[in-house]
């Protein structure tokens, strides 16, 4: 038997063959069994056909943070999956394949890899038909890993219970059949502490976590148009619409979606849209309108490979500059990028508070990797999370900022009254005495459209003052890990857990560990230039890690701090092939 503490499984097959849901069920059952789990999905932009695969990585003794491009088990449902992934199998691993699909004698199997032929069709036929093929495959995996079937059986019951007892029984039989044809336990997996804490774990993706944060924040209006990889926000919020009283509008296009969430914010709801770069391009004009009209709203750009239609189902971090500079003119905004589910939840919640308190658009960058990868995480702590709506005035409050007298008798609300912090009190429609026009034009305190130079300057300065307050309030970046390190990894977004894994692996490296720490930039606008500059200038070897061509964060750092990675003797690790770097890739780049 092969001894392992972490096992990485890859299930590959054509689109439409259900491997994503097979991976989902497997991952959840492992989590319930007390494992730390990470799973990700690589799909092609097709409904059927093409080559898709799902990775599930788990351990009972270590925290599994991210994916691994090598595999211990490859379950290939088609020929392409064998050919694509055979070389990725580690010494001591197993290739599970179906003889009908491929002539294995013509392929070079790496040394130490066991080849296990399983006739999935025949096995499935024996328990009720071809649709049980994936359940048989899960059974094979559990058999090879010597894992108890109880958690998986319960999940099959939960998942298929509504479809009737026969379907459940067939699935359970398929699972057992899989164990049977696996030929017995192959891996001896290090056992962890008793799975006592398992009940307090969740298995979810970054967008699930973000949606939990949004609902927690009282978001009750979503206007969105489907676009990979952002649609999961639309789907999740729509699923919760009735239970949580959320109006979810699948709009006619992204322009409508964005204008809708501004309208919703004006009306007084906490509003959200999600999209990807192409859709965000269409939203751009209305994002600026939210800035000018000082209307709170939250926008998620789930990045995929650009430009244009790009690689729709692959990951990238190429939209930072697009979001930072979206729309004409200068206006205050927040640009933030959570890195893992916990941050998606917490920053997702806070996004709505910042939007309300500073009356501006808050832009959240996620990416395909974070949006769709599954992470096992402890249940989120809701303590201390307070909804703060900022300066919303009632009738009495409105009267205090209302001009008296004048030809028309007075009673005009100063929606855009100048203030110390740049934030004016606002009234919501329905509040007597607070009537005003929120406008996309430059305006005076009363929203009147005046083109006087001094009014323009006063209002512009007022709006931009918000950035000062925000900067002092947003948490400044901090080094993760020991301050005294040989390498400082600098990145943003979904690389957080991957770099944490890199740091751990570098420290544990055979032949002498390497000390590394991490600087994650969570807020790009406004930017903590002083703190970032200071940290980087003190770093021994700063290394920028980004999933894009030009090093967009590196460019921002240079613009704001003058710090240049190459001039400082550092390095840049950039990748833009649509596939997230794994630890191994980064470590190889670092130590080569």
């Amino acid at each position: 038997m092969t001894q392992k503490s972490t096992i990485n499984i890859l299930i590959g097959g054509p689109a439409g063959s259900g491997i994503e849901s097979a991976g989902m069920l497997l991952g959840k059952s492992l989590m319930r069994g007390g494992a730390s789990v990470f799973a990700c999905n690589e799909i092609m932009s097709l409904i059927r056909g093409g080559h898709n695969y799902n990775r599930v990585r788990f351990s009972y003794t270590e925290k599994v943070l991210c994916h691994d491009d090598r595999a211990d088990v490859v379950v290939a449902l088609d020929r392409e999956s064998v050919e694509e992934h055979l070389d990725e199998i580690r010494d001591g691993g197993v290739l599970v394949y179906d003889q009908d699909h491929v002539d294995i004698s013509k392929l070079k199997v790496p040394d130490g890899v066991r080849v296990l032929h399983v006739d999935l069709d025949e096995a499935a036929a024996g328990v009720g038909g071809a649709i049980y093929k994936n359940t048989v495959a899960i059974g094979v995996i559990l058999g090879l890993c010597g894992l108890d079937l109880g958690n998986m059986e319960k999940i099959l019951r939960d998942t298929f219970g509504e479809k009737g007892a026969e379907i459940v029984a067939n699935n359970v039989n398929a699972l057992k059949k899989g164990v049977e044809v696996s030929g017995g336990q192959h891996f001896e997996i290090a056992a962890g502490e008793a799975a006592a804490g398992a009940a307090e774990e969740m298995y979810l993706n970054g967008h699930d976590a973000f949606c939990l944060g949004a609902v927690k924040a009282g978001c009750r209006f979503v206007g969105e148009y489907p676009m990979t990889p952002s649609s999961s926000i639309l789907h999740t919020m729509a699923k919760w619409a009735e239970k949580m009283g959320i109006v979810v509008k699948h709009a006619e296009d992204e322009i409508a979606a964005m204008n809708m969430i501004v309208g919703a914010g004006f009306a007084g709801a906490r509003s959200l849209t999600g999209t990807s770069g192409g859709g965000f391009a269409l939203m751009t004009e209305a994002v600026g309108m939210a800035g000018m009209s000082e209307t709170p709203c939250v926008i998620v750009n789930a990045q995929r490979v650009g430009p244009s239609t790009g690689l729709p189902t692959k990951t990238e971090q190429g939209d930072l500059r697009q979001v930072m500079h979206a729309s004409q003119g200068d206006y205050p905004r927040v640009v933030m990028a959570p890195g893992d589910p916990e941050e998606c939840f917490e920053m997702g919640f806070e996004a709505f508070n910042y939007a309300d308190r500073y009356q501006l658009p808050v832009l959240v960058l996620t990416d395909k990797y974070l949006a769709e990868s599954m992470y096992s995480v402890p249940v989120f702590n809701e303590e201390g999370m307070k909804i703060d709506r900022g300066k919303i005035l009632d009738e009495k409050g409105a009267a205090a900022v209302t001009a008296e007298g004048g030809e028309a008798g007075g009673g005009f609300f100063r929606r855009y009254a100048l203030s110390e912090d740049g934030v004016s009190g606002r009234t919501l429609p329905g509040t007597p005495g607070g009537e005003h026009v929120a406008t996309s034009y430059e305006h005076d305190e009363f929203s009147d459209l005046l083109e006087d130079a001094d009014i323009r300057v006063a209002q512009m300065d007022k709006r931009m003052k918000k950035m000062t307050g925000l900067l002092s309030e947003l948490p400044a970046p901090e080094l993760i890990g020991e301050a005294d390190a040989d390498i400082t990894l600098v990145s943003w977004g979904s690389y957080k857990p991957i770099l944490e894994d890199v740091v751990a692996r570098l420290a544990a490296r055979e032949g002498g560990g390497v000390k590394a720490n991490i600087l994650m930039i969570k807020y790009m606008v406004p930017f903590h230039a002083d703190v970032v500059g200071k940290i980087l200038r003190a770093a021994k070897k700063p290394v920028l890690v980004e999933q894009n061509f030009s090093g967009q964060l590196g460019g921002l750092i240079k613009e704001k701090t003058g710090f240049d990675f190459e001039e400082a003797g550092g390095a840049k690790i950039l990748k833009y092939d649509g596939r997230q770097m794994d630890c191994e890739y980064i470590i190889t780049k670092l130590v080569s």
Partner: protein
Amino acid sequence: MTEQKDLLTKDKPNWCPGCGDYGILTALKNVMVDLDLAPANTVVATGIGCGSKINHWVKCYGFEGLHGRPLPVASAVKLCNPDLNVVAVGGDGDGYGLGMGHFIHAMRRNLNMTYIVQDNQIYGLTTGQTSPTSDRGTVTKSTPSGAIELPVNPIELGFASGATYIARGYAGDLPHLTKLIADGISHKGFALIDVFQPCVTFNKINTYQFFQERVYKLEDDPTFKVAGPCGDKECDVCDAIARSREWGDKIPIGLFYKEDRATYESEEIGLKDGRPVDVPAEVGIEELMSEFM
């Protein structure tokens, strides 16, 4: 009770003297008094164009958004607070050019709101270019040899797209326009009111005189019946559509179609237990988190 004095604003309109927009503004204010619409509970969402400044000159809540986009803003306001009276106002370029997609989708949605289109068949604010409702052959700065496209027919689009109140008004007939708008706002569903609104500066063809000589009221014609949904009764839609195409010596104004159909908000599942504008002090998510366990 809402009175005219409650609708006064700090400044006065700056439209060209004689602009058809004055008639529309006056009609809207009259309707707010007649129907006793409280300024605080009324939202007028507009786009960009001369007429879109209308919400600066009637006291109520207003959102002056982007060119072509008043309908998405207005739709969301209504969805987040269905207790408000929501009126979207914009020009023909705004609504039938840039905003055409929103126009059609808003009609099929049937939110309980009113859309008034200031239709002057020309671009005024950008100093005189062809519009989606300009006649074929219209000579403008952008079509010096004459427009070679057919104009859109918004009334007919209303039929095709599921509007439940379809009317055409004329800014030169204030009592008639006031009633059309009042009935549109009272109607439970999406009311489209396309209004002939002469641009005295840039449209030298479709002038007050042009309309004065041609318009007739549908309700004055005993052979015309306001159309409704084609059910088991005799279908009036064909005649109403034919009337909407009349353009020449005689041009009809008035109500073409009216239907009682469930509003979008009455069927919206997210509105069953309250309004999105009522943000709670705290939201518990334990139950939602259990879905992932």
